[in-house]
């Protein structure tokens, strides 16, 4: 099959590892058919970060930053991927400017999602802290008999 310069097509079987966390490879991948799951090992456990469907990109972080792979990517079912080698990126950006646009769009979406997750985590942590602080204060106050839950007048027969 004759393809535009810089592109290769690779086929992967279900469960096959495409890139492994810590690898030094630099290719970028575009999902032509099928889907993949992105995994990370955290404290000995395998955590699925996301599932990427047809048309999505991955591997661009290693390609752009020259750093080892930050996560493992595994095929879910049979997947066909277009592979872009490091030396072909600039040619591809020049040949297909909307590729750069979509790459930025995808990275922008990821930053937004991470921000949302961060805000949620900070808010949850803050709520947890406040809850812990309140319960501590209440229990401390209860211990000294200074403050108790307000009771309606006459509720327990003691009145004011």
């Amino acid at each position: 099959m004759k393809l535009p310069t810089g592109f290769e097509i690779h086929e992967f079987d279900d469960g096959e590892i495409i890139v492994r966390e810590g690898d030094e490879s630099r290719e970028m991948f575009i999902i032509r058919t099928g889907s993949v799951e992105v995994l990370k090992h955290v404290a000995g456990h395998e955590v699925t970060l996301t599932i990427l469907e047809r048309g999505s990109f991955f591997g661009e972080m290693s390609l752009l930053e020259g750093l080892p792979r930050s996560a493992t990517v595994r095929a879910r079912g049979n997947a066909s991927l277009a592979v872009l080698r490091p030396g072909s990126l600039l040619v591809q950006l020049r040949r297909d400017p909307t590729f750069a646009f979509e790459l930025l769009q995808q990275m922008s979406r990821r930053v937004r999602e991470l921000n949302d997750q961060l805000v949620f985590k900070v808010a949850t942590a803050e709520f947890g802290n406040r809850l812990a602080r309140s319960s501590f204060m209440l229990s401390a106050a209860g211990e000294y008999g200074a403050v108790g839950p307000e009771k309606k007048s006459g509720e327990d027969g003691h009145g004011g």
Binding site: M1, P4, I9, I30, R54, G55, R95, D96, P97
Partner: protein, 279 residues
């Protein structure tokens, strides 16, 4: 800006050039919009819909007024009108969002049925536009003057410019092939189109699209690439306009006249305009 959408039924046309004095098929365009509305299609005007680069305001008023009221009703029945920006209306890039019920986008990734379809004007792959934008806009200005003289003068100038471009790109290619730095076999593309468009359609198609649709070249045609992507060009409304009809991932490609006279290639039972099939 939403560039990825889901559409069951979509009609794509390109290069209507409303507002250009050369644009004549005013009635055909309003019939097309009427057809789309009655047959529950969303519509994508794939670039150069309004010819801002060679605009006559009085012509634009006359071209747009018959179809605008109907175009503005699509949203009320749950369907969309998309407008992808082209080179003659590049000023509309300032309005990349929802404008008066119309979604202005740089390109559109459509999911229909289980297929992914890319709709884009295609000027971003025109080597002349990319390498020499100033010269490109100067030529468009000269074209506007030529239209003012007569449509015949413009046509002659346009043919001359396309011939010149072919020569400018063809001569270096001839020598590159002679010295072996370029392959002898031309990449697949629509006959008459410059090579940059076929290559671009391949490159975009490899990104997981079953169908790639461009306009811009004014040359309607269809090519199937070896790796499974089909490339369409829907031509222009100066001559006989063509259209790509999409229904749940299936495609029909042909002249707009066939569509409006022969009827819907994907008929829906009880095809009234108020259905909720759109996005």
């Amino acid at each position: 800006m939403r560039t990825s959408v889901q559409e069951d039924r979509l009609l794509v046309v390109s290069d209507i050039h409303m507002g250009n004095l050369l644009h004549r098929p005013r009635k055909a365009f309003s019939q097309f919009v009427q057809f789309a509305f009655e047959n529950r299609y969303s519509v994508c005007l794939n670039g150069d819909g309004i010819d801002i680069a060679q605009l006559s305001m009085s012509q634009l008023n006359a071209d747009l007024s018959p179809s605008l009221p109907l175009l503005s009703r699509f949203r009320s029945v749950g369907r969309s009108v998309y407008y992808t920006v082209g080179n003659h209306d590049i000023a509309l890039e300032h309005f990349l969002s929802d404008v008066g019920g119309m979604q202005v986008v740089p390109f559109l990734n459509v999911r229909s049925g289980d297929r992914r379809i890319r709709v884009e004007h295609g000027h971003m792959y025109d080597e002349m536009f990319l390498k020499h934008p100033w010269l490109y806009f100067q030529i468009m200005s000269i074209g506007k003057l030529a239209i003012g003289v007569s449509p015949g003068v413009y046509d002659a100038l346009h043919r001359f410019m396309v011939g010149m471009l072919g020569m400018v790109e063809g001569v270096p290619r001839f020598f590159r092939r002679k010295v072996g730095t370029e392959e002898l076999e031309a990449p697949p593309g629509i006959p008459g189109e410059r090579q940059c468009f076929g290559l671009a359609a391949q490159s975009v198609g490899l990104r997981g699209f079953d169908v790639v649709t461009f306009g811009h070249t004014h040359i309607p045609g269809k090519v199937e690439f070896e790796f499974g992507t089909t490339y369409f060009n829907t031509g222009a409304w100066f001559a006989g306009p063509w259209c790509l009809a999409i229904h749940r991932g299936n495609t029909w490609f042909g002249p707009v006249a066939d569509l409006t006279t022969d009827g819907d290639p994907f008929p829906i039972d009880g095809g009234d305009a108020s259905g909720e099939l759109g996005s």
